[in-house]
């Protein structure tokens, strides 16, 4: 009997913060690969500290819905879940390669397969591209388009920028888009100057954030000049300095992210092959469905 627990940050202030976590949990639940699919949060309930005691299975796959390896995945989550003998070396990661570690939760005695974050999995690259398809309504988008992958920046954690560059590089290598850039909120190259970085008229901007909130809904649209006041909204696309900016909002809201959660669990040994097929099939973008 295997169960899945998706763990995320959550928020005391933003009601939308937990929405992607619930949505992806529902998608995976309906795909039927797990006995049960649970959610746990740092700022909401059930708290990380108590989520495992709501899980009836003895074997649990825990997948962090975070964009990069760092403070939360390395310290907070293992500590609050009470994973016995946790040490970040268990992941043997270079900052991008955390896969899984199998430990025992001292609180419940469950076997926990603690997975790396969704944001650094190679399947996340497909979600960034899928996000571009969704926001343009074009399942073949690429030719004549630039793509910007946007991250928070290195403020506290160098792994954050590594993840952005990793996906930008992978997408660039496919040759699908005319140009691909990694941009940041807090460091150069900055998302404020997005139009300076592209020659293509059409530019899709995909922030590598899990949930829509202050940064993706207020800061980035205003910084890019899509709007003077986020409360009045903006068009997709919006023309800025002669470029059409297709702003996608947080990549974490893209339904295909459920596939990355499953891939993480699969890498840790979960039997989810059929569910992966189901999720990929059901989250596809139909042409003309922006």
């Amino acid at each position: 009997m295997q169960s899945l627990v998706i763990v995320a940050h959550g928020s005391h202030l933003n009601p939308d913060s937990s929405a992607p976590t619930y949505d992806h949990a529902d998608t995976i639940r309906e795909a039927g690969a797990f006995e049960a699919v649970h959610t746990g949060f740092w700022k909401e309930e059930p708290h990380l500290r108590e989520v495992l005691r709501t899980v009836e299975s003895d074997e649990v796959y825990v997948v962090p819905l975070f964009v990069s390896e760092g403070y939360f995945t390395e310290q907070v989550i293992p500590r609050e879940l009470r994973l016995e003998g946790w040490d970040v070396d268990r992941w043997e990661s270079d900052g991008l390669s955390a896969d899984q570690a199998t430990l025992t939760a001292t609180d419940t005695g469950q076997t926990v397969h603690y997975c790396g974050p969704v944001g650094t999995h190679e399947a996340m690259t497909d979600v960034v591209v899928r996000r571009a398809e969704t926001v343009t309504g074009d399942p073949d988008v690429g030719e004549g388009f630039g793509l910007a992958v946007v991250g928070h920046g290195t403020e506290r954690n160098e792994n954050s920028a590594k993840a952005i560059e990793y996906h930008a590089d992978r997408i660039r290598e496919t040759g699908r888009f005319d140009e691909v850039k990694a941009l940041y909120m807090d460091e150069e190259p900055e998302v404020d100057d997005v139009t300076d970085h592209f020659t293509a008229t059409d530019v899709v901007v995909v922030p590598l954030f899990i949930a829509d909130g202050f940064h993706t809904q207020e800061d980035i649209p205003e910084d890019m000049g899509l709007t003077d006041d986020y409360r009045t909204g903006y068009d997709v696309p919006t023309t800025v300095d002669g470029h059409r900016i297709w702003y996608a909002g947080a990549v974490g809201t893209e339904p295909l992210l459920a596939d990355v959660v499953l891939e993480r669990a699969a890498d840790a040994g979960a039997d989810v092959d059929e569910a992966v097929e189901t999720v990929r099939r059901e989250t596809r973008v139909a042409a003309g469905r922006p």
């Binding site: 005391h12 740092w42 309930e45 059930p46 708290h47 108590e50 005691r53 009836e56 403070y71 500590r79």
Partner: protein, 431 residues
């Protein structure tokens, strides 16, 4: 609120106030199939002490033995076993529901037993390895069975279930009733919706709908704390099965059942204030510095602020530390709070910063009524009553016009009360 808000096994309310009639049960085929398999299932085989009957197989004759406190029948074929089971449909269905429908000896199973007042079944969950079994064999001493007489409690419970057994869990009102086949149906609504016709409530089937109901309060504001007493009403889950009932409750109040069950078994692990704050890192690491002074008065204020029943329905069980209880009341909630929650931790971080400031003496000139008005404003905000104060009720200190008048009279252009700057180095801004 009805009286059943304690986890101490208090008898739940019987919605009819009477309900002496034991209903007839149309035992499902699945129950009889399960019964026929029971002699080969050590874990789920019924016992006289708890289930009110027992069954064994006579392998030589390929027949069954069926026994209740009223008597013992032997040489039963599969067909005559089914007849015997139907004659005792109440006890067989109760066994079947808990062993095969609920099928859980953890928190979920305990909760579902507690909901309908199945105390004898709860008691068994608490006894490891089911010690009733060794002396409860058919070849044991049948006369012992009479002393444990389980039949009447089950029949009484069925009589109550026929009309509905109700418990409250936070602001939820949960009513258990019987379907014709003896399985349970659960209705969940807001306790404030007691007595309202179902047709006047918005009806839901999917437990996940509870997420969106619980997301905002009646004024549309986000509820960051699921156990805040601000759950909106106007909805009903009219017909949940056992699994759906548990999932709905867990969605409204996550992890409350698990912690209630640990407490019920005497195994609640409490993380007190001091150890919880010592565990914090990152931006919350600063909270630990708040504990370096003498005493723990600051924690009393936090508990009084955040953990009163008016703010959270959990019953606070954590103290300053294991040896230093707090004097403020922990509340009367049915489910326990086993450590300071993330909202308390976040607020404590801000208070740690604010409380590091040294006190200063300010001198203000206020009329006695103005002083009382300042106190009334603080009270109204702290008790969340601002919205209730009527537009023209200028007799209330926290009325908007009264407050605007106070501001017009007493604030300078920089928003300083009585023109007194917060930082004394700035000098006075009015004469």
């Amino acid at each position: 609120m009805t009286a059943n808000t304690h986890a101490d096994g208090a008898t739940p309310t019987d919605a009819s106030g009477g309900g002496e009639d034991v209903p007839s049960i149309d035992l499902p085929t699945a129950a009889i199939d399960a019964l026929a398999r029971a002699p080969n299932d050590d874990e789920r085989s019924p016992t006289l002490a708890v289930d009110g009957f027992r069954i064994a197989s006579d392998d030589d004759a390929d027949t069954y033995i069926f026994e209740t406190s009223e008597g013992r029948r032997t040489g039963l074929s599969r067909e005559t076993l089914a007849e015997a089971a139907r004659e005792h449909a109440v006890v067989v269905s109760d066994w079947y529901v808990f062993e095969h429908v609920v099928d859980d000896e953890g928190p979920r199973g305990a909760f579902l037993r507690w909901l309908e007042g199945a105390t004898e079944r709860l008691d068994r969950l608490d006894r490891p390895n089911r010690p009733d079994r060794p002396d409860d064999r058919l070849d044991g001493h049948p006369e012992d069975g009479d002393a444990r007489e389980p039949r009447e409690p089950i029949r009484d419970r069925y009589a109550s279930l026929a009309t509905g057994v109700t418990r409250e869990w936070g602001e939820l009102r949960i009513t258990v009733t019987l379907a014709d086949d003896g399985t349970r149906r659960y209705e969940i609504r807001h306790a404030d919706a007691t007595g309202i016709d179902r047709d006047h409530l918005e009806s839901h089937e999917d437990p996940r709908t509870a997420r969106s109901i619980a997301k905002h309060d009646a004024d549309g504001r986000y509820r960051p704390l699921k156990t805040a007493p601000t759950l909106p009403t106007g909805w009903v889950f009219p017909e949940l099965d056992a699994r759906g009932c548990y999932e709905t409750v867990e969605t409204f109040y996550p992890a409350t059942v698990a912690n209630w069950d640990r407490e019920r078994r005497g195994a609640l692990d409490v993380s007190h204030w001091h150890e919880t704050m010592a565990r914090q890192t990152g931006i919350y690491g600063v909270i630990e510095t708040w504990d370096r002074g003498e005493g723990h008065e600051h924690v009393e204020w936090v508990a009084e602020t955040c953990c009163a029943d008016s703010q959270c329905l959990k019953r606070r069980e954590w103290e300053y530390d294991a040896d230093t209880p707090l004097s403020v009341d922990g509340g009367d909630g049915v489910f326990p709070c086993r450590e300071p929650c993330s909202l308390v931790v976040s607020a404590a971080r801000q208070w740690t910063k604010l409380e590091s400031e040294a006190e200063r003496t300010y001198e203000f000139d206020l009329t006695p009524s103005e002083k009382e008005q300042v106190e009334a404003i603080i009270d109204a905000v702290a008790d969340g009553r601002v919205g209730e104060i009527r537009e023209a009720d200028v007799y209330e200190g926290a009325n908007r016009y009264r407050t605007r008048f106070l501001r017009a009279k007493r604030f300078d252009d920089d928003g300083n009360l009585c023109g007194i700057p917060t930082d004394p180095d700035e000098g006075t801004t009015v004469e």
